[in-house]
């Protein structure tokens, strides 16, 4: 940029030689004029020299100037030639993988293929990074005055300070009859379902505060969960699992799922994962209504559950302090981690799938790196957190009794104070950040509280993935598309990008599997059994001789192979040495050697 700025300066002097340059609004007014008034003669000399210099420079730089930008008729050059630069860190955000190494030998076709694909991906990264600059919304934030903690700012103060539409997002629903409440926001963050312990279910469009349905199932409710869209939700009732539509009509009663305590919905797989009091983890494919897997975890009552949004693995917390990771394809846990002394009370995994936050009966809050399964941070909370929830931007909310605390950056820096805190009117039983909004929903014994947490939600949504403003038609279209690209449950594994990698070990793996399945190795060489021959040719001596012959032949082949290999390696080494000699000879200084 700096060098580009020089060019117009040189042009200016060139013009000045003939006459004074006309004033431009971007130059400082009167600066040139003052100079000329002060020392007329000197300036002329200076100008002359300058002109000469500039002419020289021009001669030197002519080809570079031409290449850099178009010279306009006015004599100006483009001050920002070439494509606009894109910040490196933004490009990094869109980088999926490291650059491929090109094959060493000729292989022109492969080389070309790799270069082409690399160019294409680079271009797409650049364009995405460039598009990223233009995103319309910025994330929210909250800063205290000097010496003031942000956690002391009350919700009422925040609601007063922000605009009307946002202040309406802080509200309390006083539902003291049927509590405590569980809650769930739909994927777009538009809709909310509340399920009271004593059978009350309410669905609402919480931003417009429109009630969609309200029913009482006259039975205890353990959990509620939206399915893929806001037209259906699942309710874990006293005995069975029920599916209702948004008008409160019972669609299904699924008797295969009994005593369900917690549920998670995997939106890209269309799977509803449930855990029950009978220690069963079950998966229901909601697109076809089939049970995909039922796993007996053999760990007692299961009431702590969360999903990893990055790879659709289910995390379960147990009473003995372990957290286990499950996929529907395996009857055993993928990973078992001992996280706490005493039972695990709550688990949560962040959006990128890197960190897991757990809280236990030992009143500790721990942060784990799930790539290495190692603890990163451990905090002590005086009362212990009963519920945890992570927002899209990585804020952690923890409920201790009737106080909801929100923490920032729990994994990168040691946290001493909460970012925000709020006291609700009963013990907290459900906690959920609203996607794409700076809102935290709290279900408690006295109803529901929607509180404002600036900086919690992702500011820019993707219209093709989850659009809070979509119309009915758009939703229908999205539903069809989403169903078409439903991921099969067999593809759930710890590394979701496994499918995009080269499967190197397959042959060996296949062979091993085959050996395991058959019980013997079909490719193994069978032991030589000499044929029985008549007319006395199968005397024990003759048989022994024949055996020896075969063994001898095998031995010869083995020796031959090893010798051949030896020769080959020797030859290669020789060639390498030769090559290195040849390369050394090519040095420019060799001509002086004698």
């Amino acid at each position: 940029m700096a060098s580009a700025g020089e060019a117009p300066g040189g042009e200016d002097t060139h013009v000045e030689k003939k006459k004074k340059a006309s004033e431009r609004y971007w130059e400082e007014p009167g600066k040139d004029g003052n100079q000329t008034e002060k020392n007329d003669g000197e300036s002329k000399q200076l100008q002359h020299k300058k002109a000469e210099k500039s002419r020289k420079r021009k001669l030197e730089h002519k080809p570079r100037d031409q290449s850099r930008g178009k010279n306009f008729l006015s004599g100006k050059t483009d001050p920002f030639p070439g494509p606009a630069p894109v910040p490196k860190d933004r490009i990094q955000k869109f980088k999926r993988k490291e650059d491929m190494s090109k094959p060493r030998h000729k292989r022109h076709k492969l080389r070309q293929l790799i270069t082409q694909s690399e160019d294409a991906s680079k271009m797409s990264q650049n364009q995405a990074a460039r598009f990223d600059l233009l995103l319309p919304e910025d994330a929210g934030f909250l800063e205290g005055d000097e010496g003031e903690d942000t956690c002391t700012i009350s919700q009422n103060d925040i609601a007063d300070a922000v605009d009307l539409a946002s202040s309406a997002k802080y509200f309390n629903l006083k539902l003291s009859q049927f509590g405590p409440y569980r809650l769930d926001y739909s994927k777009t963050g538009r809709h909310l379902v509340l399920g009271g312990r004593r059978g009350h279910i309410a669905c609402l469009d919480w931003q417009s505060k429109q009630l969609m349905c309200e029913i009482n199932v006259m039975e205890s409710i353990n959990d509620v969960k939206w399915l893929h869209s806001e037209s259906m939700y699942a309710v874990a009732q006293k005995k069975w699992l029920y599916i209702y539509d948004s008008n409160g009509i019972e669609l299904h009663c699924i008797r295969k799922f009994n005593d369900v305590l917690r549920m998670q919905f995997l939106p890209y797989h269309f799977l509803l994962a449930t855990v029950s009091a009978t220690s069963f983890l079950q998966y229901l494919d909601v697109s076809v209504g089939k049970e995909v897997a039922a796993i007996c975890t053999k760990t007692g009552r299961l009431d702590v559950m969360c999903q990893n949004p990055y790879n659709a693995i289910i995390h379960l917390g147990h009473a003995n302090g372990t957290v286990t990771l499950w996929s529907p394809n395996q009857k055993e846990a993928l990973v078992k981690m001992l996280c706490h002394q005493g039972g695990v009370r709550s688990v949560s995994v962040d959006k990128t799938g890197l960190y897991m936050v757990t809280s236990g009966m030992d009143k500790k809050l721990k942060v784990y790196d799930i790539r290495t399964f190692k603890p990163l941070k451990s905090y002590f909370l005086p009362a212990g957190a009963s519920c945890l929830s992570l927002s899209q931007k990585g804020l952690l909310s923890a409920a201790t009794g009737d106080i909801v605390q929100v923490y920032r950056d729990v994994w990168s820096t040691p946290v001493t104070k909460p970012y925000m805190a709020h006291r609700v009117r009963g013990a907290v039983s459900g906690l959920h950040f609203c996607p794409f909004e700076d809102v935290l929903g709290v279900g408690h014994g006295d109803g529901f509280t929607s509180m404002l947490v600036p900086g919690a939600g992702e500011p820019n949504f993707d219209g093709l993935d989850a659009n809070p403003y979509r119309s009915a038609k758009q939703r229908q279209e999205w539903e069809v598309k989403a169903l078409l690209e439903k991921i099969q449950p067999e593809l759930i594994s710890l590394n979701p990008n496994k499918l995009g990698e080269v499967d190197r070990a397959t042959f060996e793996q296949r062979h091993q599997d085959r050996v395991e399945a058959l019980g013997f190795d079909p490719l193994a060489k069978q032991k030589f059994v000499p044929k029985f021959k008549k007319k006395g040719r199968s005397s024990s001596g003759a048989v022994e001789r024949r055996k020896k012959q075969v063994a001898h032949e095998d031995q010869r082949e083995l020796i031959k192979n090893t010798i051949e290999q030896k020769m080959r390696t020797e030859k290669e080494q020789e060639w390498k040495i030769k090559e290195s000699v040849v390369f050394r000879k090519k040095s420019a200084l060799d001509r002086f050697k004698k």
Partner: protein, 446 residues
């Protein structure tokens, strides 16, 4: 005033203004908002592959009207919708492909029509037949009351079996007992090439180096000529006879010949020692071959009642077409717009096929085209995944062809195994490894 900001979107920025606008779709390409992208892409690729097989309906139309087997066809040089075909009873028909009807019929020869070629200007065409004549005809049909008569008739000494026209000049070549170069203005050949005693089955001008020709002879050889020289350039002798050949229109130093030994061979004209690629898949003699105008693929017609499409550098076909009623396919053409394939067969029909079996014909809307391109790329990207591969390469074959192919495979395997065993039990080096490409060339003569 407290420094505070809470997300607050104006719905007007995200919702369309009137119902006549299109919906607004704000995008955010952040990878963390799009989890499972590989898996979802894979699901899309699988769907695209399945849909491709669902929509693979290559057969478009059958043009019937000939009263004997179709022996030869010619594309019009300037008109996409015209096709000329000659049958075994000497009848010649000109077809309008858009209307799928015959526009003109004429009795060109007595006996077979052996070859048709349209002049480069498209105003007239030449035919040769079993009655030892070369006839030139006007492309326009005769007016009312006029008789169907050739512009020009040349009586040759021997039977002609094929002909081809020069790309730019009034010169054409015929083959029979020798290869003759004719000037359109004269009634005797300008030049005759012979090389030993044999008869030729086809002759083709090179589309780029227009003075060069190649021909297939019945003594199992392929001979190259330069029109300006008095003697042939060189020839390659193979183990079996080649029926026809076709030059690659884009890389015109390559030509592909259809051989009697069920395979096609692509040669580099500059090096005839061994073919560049051996294309195997047919289970009977290959009778005709034609390149696509892009030079990336070619189509072959075989005695086994199927048509196969090969990539120019692939050993196996990417597509096979067959119908219950199609008999031995005698001649094949790839249309000049790269979209259709025309096949003429023994049972008197000409069939029109799509070159890309699942392609949607007609004008595509922009979004449709985008979707098709995207799907194509997805299929390419995931083509090696076992599930995708299995679906993409599955073809239903008639029972006899399926079994014959299996038999051939077993035979080839057995031969290979035997050779291996022989090699194992003989003196090292005495039984050299002969590759499939080297196997079929006997000699190259210059």
């Amino acid at each position: 005033m407290r420094p505070i900001k809470v997300l607050s979107r104006n719905p007007d920025d995200y919702v369309r203004e009137t119902k006549y606008d299109i919906q607004r779709v704000p995008r955010n390409y952040d990878p963390s908002l799009h989890p499972f992208e590989v898996n979802r892409e894979y699901a899309r690729a699988l769907n695209a592959t399945k849909l491709e097989r669902v929509f693979a309906k290559p057969f478009l139309a059958s043009l019937d009207g000939h009263r004997d087997g179709v022996n030869c066809m010619a594309k019009h040089s300037t008109n996409l919708s015209s096709l000329l075909s000659g049958s075994c009873d000497g009848e010649l028909k000109i077809w309008n492909l858009t209307k799928r009807e015959c526009v003109r019929t004429l009795q060109a020869h007595e006996g077979f029509v052996r070859g048709i070629v349209v002049r480069f200007c498209g105003t007239s065409f030449f035919t040769v037949g079993d009655d030892k004549t070369i006839k030139q005809w006007k492309m326009q049909s005769p007016g009312y009351g006029e008789e169907e008569e050739p512009l020009n008739t040349i009586l040759g000494k021997t039977v002609f079996t094929g002909l081809d026209h020069h790309r730019r000049e009034g010169v054409f070549a015929t083959c029979g007992q020798q290869v003759d170069i004719w000037d359109e203005q004269r009634s005797s050949p300008v030049r005759s090439f012979t090389w030993g005693v044999d008869s030729f089955s086809s002759v083709r001008f090179n589309p780029v180096e227009t003075e060069l020709l190649a021909s297939c002879a019945s003594d199992r050889s392929i001979v190259l000529y330069d029109m300006r020289e008095a003697t042939p350039l060189k020839k390659v002798v193979m183990t079996m006879r080649s029926n026809t050949l076709c030059w690659n229109p884009m890389e015109a130093y390559y030509f592909t010949c259809a051989n009697e030994d069920y395979s096609l061979y692509t040669y580099d004209m500059r090096n005839l020692e061994q073919p560049v690629v051996v294309h195997m898949d047919h289970v009977s003699a290959v009778l005709d071959v034609d390149f696509s105008p892009t030079g990336k693929e070619f189509v072959s017609a075989s005695f086994d009642k199927t048509i196969r499409i090969f990539p120019k550098d692939g050993g196996h076909s990417r597509e096979v077409y067959h119908t219950k009623r199609m008999q031995h396919v005698i001649c094949i053409k790839w249309s000049a717009d790269n979209k259709y394939i025309l096949s003429g067969s023994d049972e008197m029909n000409i069939r029109l096929w799509k070159a890309n079996a699942s392609e949607k014909l007609g004008v595509l809307a922009h979004r449709e085209r985008e979707a098709a391109n995207y799907n194509q790329k997805l299929k390419e990207k995931y083509q090696h995944h076992p599930q995708v591969k299995r679906i993409a390469r599955h073809r239903h074959l008639p029972k006899n062809i399926y079994h014959q192919a299996k038999e051939l495979r077993v035979m080839r395997e057995a031969r290979r195994r035997k050779e291996k065993n022989v090699r194992k039990h003989s003196k090292p080096g005495s039984v050299p490894v002969v590759t499939e490409r080297e196997k079929h060339v006997v000699t190259v003569v210059k």
